[in-house]
Chain length 397, copies 2
């Protein structure tokens, strides 16, 4: 039971096409989840009439969202025509801004990357605008018949209402209006969100099966900073102002090894981010040639038995565990998913994280599992296109 707020009520009123809109979304989700599947089976499972499902599928075929893929086996009657998502033509352009590189990709409905380009990220707004607009228009021109939307993932705070970017701490970049610029340049809809929310959506739609079925979970993205994405009842929890979920700046302990992007030294991020790990490694191993070591390299060293690298990783894991413990207390989600390069060291740090994280799981309440992401190397790229795909498959309320 959800309260009906009278604010912007026109969007909530049911019109003639509301029935079809709802049922079309449901059928599309069936094709996505159970593909290959026949019209008749969708009708059975949804208790819609076969004729209704056929009409909806006709729509979806015309809209190029679904395609027929041969026939299945007979079970004593006419053979079913099987349906699946239309692949190979792009529906989403993803722009993934990370501190080091920016990726611009095109993906189809199933989340397959059809094209991918990248360039080094810069703090020069003019350069960034030019590069992104150029790459995006190249992709658009490559697929003239496609109906596209653009999703942008950024390592900062985004204002979902204005489509503008409020702040990217790493570059101290404020009021970057890339959303508006891209809309003007391309005429396409643009969705901007912070990287952790985007990754949370990616987990929801493309994660392991256990996660996709989960209604309430939290992702912890460990990268340059620490970001958290909260999924409650199958949607991103943004709070009223869109700035909720910034747990990276939760107070954890004094005297962090490095300054947080917000300037303090007591944030979770200052204890558990890649930046914190690398700083701690550098300071504890002397000022030798380690100046420009990156996180993947450090994990490699730890795996090869380098004591210092291992110790630093485990220390960060403990901080991660404490923060996760707070999140579990607050939300008692079904799962907490750790994402980012650090999962490559999962075997080394798993126990430290889980021991501290489980501390707050009371037996009589829920049992939250703490697991590593399976999204691979670039969860934020998948996140940027998930911003678009979540709209294609999700319902309005």
């Amino acid at each position: 039971m959800k309260k009906i707020y009278l604010h912007r009520i026109e969007d909530q009123i049911a019109r003639h096409n509301t029935i079809r809109d709802i049922n079309k979304q449901i059928v599309l989700n069936y094709v996505r989840a159970r593909s290959p599947i026949s019209r008749a089976e969708i009708a059975r499972e949804t208790s819609l009439q076969r004729s209704t499902v056929s009409a909806i599928v006709d729509d979806l075929l015309v809209e190029n969202l679904v395609e027929e893929t041969g026939t299945g086996d007979s079970t004593g009657g006419r053979k079913p025509t099987l349906l699946r998502l239309k692949t190979g033509i792009p529906v989403a352009i993803g722009v993934d801004v990370t501190p080091r590189e920016t990726f611009v990709v095109a993906a189809d409905l199933a989340g397959n990357l059809l094209r991918s380009e990248k360039f080094p990220t810069s703090s020069d707004i003019v350069y960034m605008n030019k590069q992104i607009t150029a790459k995006v228009t190249t992709l658009i021109d490559a697929y003239p018949s496609a109906k596209l939307e653009i999703g942008i993932s950024i390592p900062g705070i985004a204002d979902p209402s204005s489509g503008g970017i409020l702040y990217i701490p790493y570059f101290q970049l404020a009021d970057w209006d890339i959303g508006k610029r891209l809309t003007e340049a391309t005429g396409l809809d643009v969705i901007i969100d912070n990287d952790a929310n985007a990754v949370a959506l990616a987990e929801l739609w493309f994660g392991q099966e256990e996660v996709r079925k989960t209604r309430n979970f939290i992702t912890v993205l460990v990268a340059e900073g620490v970001g958290t994405g909260i999924i409650i009842d199958g949607q991103v929890y943004r709070g009223e102002n869109g700035a909720a979920g910034e747990f990276g700046h939760m107070f954890l302990a004094e005297n962090a090894p490095v300054e947080c992007s917000c300037g303090r030294r007591d944030c979770w991020e200052a204890h558990a981010s890649e930046k914190a790990i690398l700083a701690q490694y550098r300071s504890s191993s002397g000022n030798s040639a380690n100046g420009s070591i990156d996180i993947e390299h450090l994990i490699g060293l730890a795996k090869n038995g380098e004591d210092n690298a291992l110790r630093v990783l485990k220390s960060a894991a403990k901080s991660l565990g404490i923060g996760i413990s707070n999140l579990i207390i607050g939300f008692s989600p079904q799962a907490v998913i750790v994402s980012g390069s650090i999962v490559k060291a999962w075997d080394l740090i798993k126990e430290d994280i889980q021991i501290l994280g489980q501390r707050s799981i009371r037996q009589e309440l829920s049992n939250t599992s703490i697991i590593a992401s399976t999204l691979g190397d670039q969860p934020t790229v998948l996140g940027s296109i998930s911003l678009v795909l979540a709209r294609k498959f999700g319902s309005a309320n």
Copy 2:
């Protein structure tokens, strides 16, 4: 954008009557919120056609949910017929089980109590079953034509799926199946939830205007224990297992003045509940005639300047503030609402709570306000009927 889960999909499919169901709820909510209001004004605000609104209002009149209440002033044309919620006939029976007394009430759509009965709560299940069933059937018999549902608020953990009660710590009462029994005895639908969730719903539907407009807030119910009710996006957040929101058992500090209902001495509840306050008062003022002092009495003493009572209250307020601070960190809600008898001492404790609570409000993030409930003496009674009314006015998703 919310994910569509294919579990129990038949309930989510849109049928013919879905349009009417949605719009009927919206119109009903307009009558509730803007009463007295005319058909034409509802049509203007919702952008539905006047004819459509008329048809829906006809339905609502037949269902006895709405009534006409004379005509309004003309603005240069025919005078509008004004509508309001139908009052005076009961739609909800509320059963409010508290540690000391159990209330059984009948309320109309507007939340007015039409009848109210009570009896002392006991740990004897047989007695409780008998008393509750008797009072409820008396109410039902008093209004033979009414279409009723029953809402039950309990100070414990309820299992919303089975309609049974899992556990009431105060009475160490397990597996009480009052829901099933009442359904069998009366044939009516029964909704059970814990008192904090019920109070949260009461705030959402009957609280001060500022709260009713709020989508995300948390109520902290200070009574025998400490309970929290979380409203996210206008609905109660229960987590996957229905047992979320049990923050009363969050770790706060060692050596609490009293044992928590769960047996520990480090829970929030063991520091900030009425029980904790009274225990601390007794131990610090010697074993004189204070054995059976209750919280209202203690607040009276503090208001009259009794040092010890005031000190004990302020100490509990600080614990409350710390716990609230954790909640704000976790959810960054728009508001935290403190409820229970302790609000009668709000002037005395306000500052202590707010100073500690505000500690965790980061400037750059949301600004949560910590306020006292305005629901009056018995928020849980209103809570029990809110369980029913939230269904009458809420939407299914």
